[in-house]
Amino acid sequence: MSVEIKENQLIMDGSELIIESLARSGADVFIGYPITPANLLYSNSLERFPSFFAAPDEISALQWMCGFSTTGKFPVTATSFPGFALMLESVNMAYMMELPMLIILVQRLGPATGSATCGAQGDLALLTGAISGGFSLPVISVSSMKDCWELSHNAMKMAIDLRTPVVLLTSKEEIMTLASFAISQLSEINLLERKQYSGAETFVPYKTNETLVPDFLPVGDKKNQVRYTASTHDQKGIIQNTSKEAIDNTKRLELKHQKNLKHHLYYEYDGEKGANTLLISYGITASASREAVKNLREQGEKVSLLIPKTLLPVAPEYFDIIEKYNKIVIAEENLSGQYRKILFGEFGNKKVSGVNGIAEMITPARITEVVLSK
């Protein structure tokens, strides 16, 4: 038997790709509190990040990150639902203060402590309502090893460009499953930097231009006073109750995401000519969906596939695609179809059906069955 020489491959898991990508992108500090199944991100960061802090709890972790971000450093953490729940108020603070940071959320089976070593996709409903008042918290979802490499960088860029916390949504298997990975897939990662205000006029912390994203200066700046506040505030960063300037500033927090979404929109659309059915999936279930589509096509079935990666805010482009199809199937590993409800509401839509489940990965066979059902 002859030896067919294949391209050189590495064995790795998603955690290594994510942390190496973020480190090369210029992330400054990882602040972590241990939790399964996010611990590989913690240990890899300890080895790879310029600075590493073991926080005494998840609230401290997020608060320390906010402190770092006010000085211009880019902080990263990784957690799972129980830890994220503790972080939530501080995530709102970072959102209000407009502090860039990345929170890697590794989903596991809930409710509560649930099963720490079992993967899940159960936190999207929480994320869509995470910011009090109906604001969008950006959520980027990885759906392959390649995504772990590229989207980690892109999520960090989004956080910096829009001055916002961003959630990189993953799950246990995406972080922990080992896989062969061709070296050629490791595209070059550019260093990201936080630009600083250099204007001649006095710095006004929350004054914005047409991008709706304010200029940045770190606290401790030698020339200009810098203010941050988690309370409703005017452009100077002074607490207000409900003055027009302050409420306009608060509304801007949502508008900046809507306005700039097109620059941070990531998805895969594999449209097949003549297909009436669109399969939508994200995260860990995307791989099962890819396999289901491959099998269906081998059987001569026509089916299209949409894998949204910028899950939130929901991009209008997704609806443009959805409108082309008579049947929509959404596969995700949670009990009631969280992204399905985000897209179509509790009322639902007759042409939409879900493939759902908990405690085990959804199989290509189950997806195929629903795609083929009348």
């Binding site: 020489i5 602040i31 401790g220 506040t229 988690a230």
Partner: protein
């Protein structure tokens, strides 16, 4: 020292009630910073939630106003990031904030983060209607505690003094001029704390008519004193500048062996924690990749390390692997009773394939071909998984044995492992007469 023109506070009136101690703290902070010759741009004031927190707009320093109880944690991040003792980080927090954020105070003191925490202790929650905090002393009345507290409040100075790491801790009565004490605290390296005793004119005075602050302090058994004054090492943030990548091209696996695999192959190893299941799975994965295949390995285990089942699903394929689960494996190796329990559901669903199972166990009903072998007896519990993968490869010849050996021999496990004994054990025929299942002679 008389105040120069204000450098740290604006000329506007302070935003507090007449007679509130918060006014004194702001004014004394201005004076203390002047005493020390600080530039306002070298000062970061971090404030908590509560009446004191609305002071930001009056300060000409950098200001950060966060969440209730979290100001010390927020300041920890600021301080660790600035990593520069020349930049003065000051935290204003109330007794309510210190209650909810006690962990942050202890942690910041413990680590010696550069900051001075000024606790505005008026013994109640002033912003929300005068509810008691954990600092409310016994007998002190508030609007929602009309008969007075029953227990004595926290003595924060004693608590923080007990934490090794604080450089300065003192309690003072928040009247007249205490700028020198504040200046002393501000000038300390590392973590310093000043508790300023106050009485809230809106709720404290009204609920305790005629009671003087000094009397409240005395009745509470709180001592006005310096508790700690020492030189300690302040926290220094490590910033590494040299790294090794988590992976590099030199780690790449080269194809050295052929494989005749034509369709994806799914193997499941099911055993017990501590018996090498995950390591064995990685050997097979790497051997497969060395044989020119793509591979994935998904691990499953309970929450506690080192207890219960341990299972791994390996997929090897000449094509790209999309889905990494194995609901219908081609082969399952079961080496322990924990592993068997985990494998039961999969075994029940299998429509073919093979089950290699330890001869001490009884195979459940399955359509897989059942093959018994004494992995545990011949290899010992710790080596049972390693034995099972070599046995598996002997039987399936999925790829050359040399491929698995080359991977295995690179590992430190191999150094203490008797390979000759294993191959002899694997080749020795096995007849199991102890169970009533249909027996397979190998």
């Amino acid at each position: 020292m008389e105040l120069e023109k204000k450098k740290f506070l604006t000329d506007a009136d302070l935003p507090f009630c007449k007679g509130c101690g918060h006014n004194h703290i702001a004014a004394n902070t201005e004076k203390a910073l002047q005493l020390l010759g600080y530039d306002p741009m070298n000062v970061v004031l971090v404030t908590d939630i509560g009446c004191h927190g609305i002071i930001d707009k009056s300060f000409l320093t950098h200001t950060v106003h966060g969440l209730h109880g979290r100001s010390v944690a927020l300041a920890t991040g600021v301080s660790a990031a600035l990593n520069n003792p020349e930049k003065k980080v000051i935290v204003f927090i109330g007794d309510g904030g210190a209650t909810i954020g006690m962990q942050h105070l202890i942690d910041a003191a413990h680590n010696g983060f550069n900051m001075t925490v000024v606790i505005h202790n008026n013994m109640l929650y002033g912003m929300t209607g005068g509810q008691p905090s954990e600092f409310t002393p016994a007998g002190f009345k508030t609007p929602t505690l009309p008969y007075g507290g029953k227990k004595t409040g926290y003595d924060i100075c004693k608590l923080i003094a007990a934490v090794e790491g604080a450089s300065y801790v003192c309690r003072l009565e928040g009247i007249s001029d205490f700028s020198e004490q504040l200046a002393e605290a501000f000038s300390k390296k590392g973590f310093s704390l000043v508790e300023v005793m106050e009485i809230c004119p809106s709720y404290g005075v009204k609920s305790n008519p005629g009671m003087k602050l000094s009397k409240v302090i005395e009745n509470a058994g709180l001592i006005i004193n310096k508790f700690v004054d020492r030189e300690v090492d302040n926290y220094k943030t490590e910033v590494k500048t040299e790294f090794r990548s988590l992976f590099s091209e030199s780690d790449a696996i080269q194809t050295k062996f052929p494989s005749k695999l034509e369709k994806p192959f799914r193997l499941m190893l099911c055993g017990s924690a501590g018996e090498g299941v995950q390591a064995a799975a990685e050997f097979i994965l790497k051997a497969g990749i060395t044989s020119g295949l793509n591979g994935t390995k998904k691990g499953s285990y309970p929450v506690t390390d080192g207890v219960g089942f341990s299972a791994a699903e390996i997929i090897l394929s000449s094509e790209e692997i999309l889905y990494t689960g194995s609901p219908n494996p081609d082969v399952i190796c079961v080496t322990s009773s924990d592993g068997l329990e985990y494998a039961r559901k999969t075994l029940a669903n299998m429509k073919g394939g093979k089950l290699f199972i330890d001869s001490s166990l009884k195979a459940p009903d399955t359509k897989a071909e059942v093959i018994y072998f004494p992995f545990r007896e011949r290899g010992g519990a710790k080596n049972s998984s390693i034995y099972s993968i070599f046995y598996f490869l002997t039987k399936t010849q999925l790829f050359p044995m040399d491929s698995l050996l080359s991977v295995f021999n690179e590992n430190k496990i191999a150094k203490k492992f008797d390979q000759d004994k294993m191959f002899q054990a694997l080749n020795e025929p096995f007849v199991d007469g102890l169970t009533d299942n249909k027996k397979v002679i190998v």
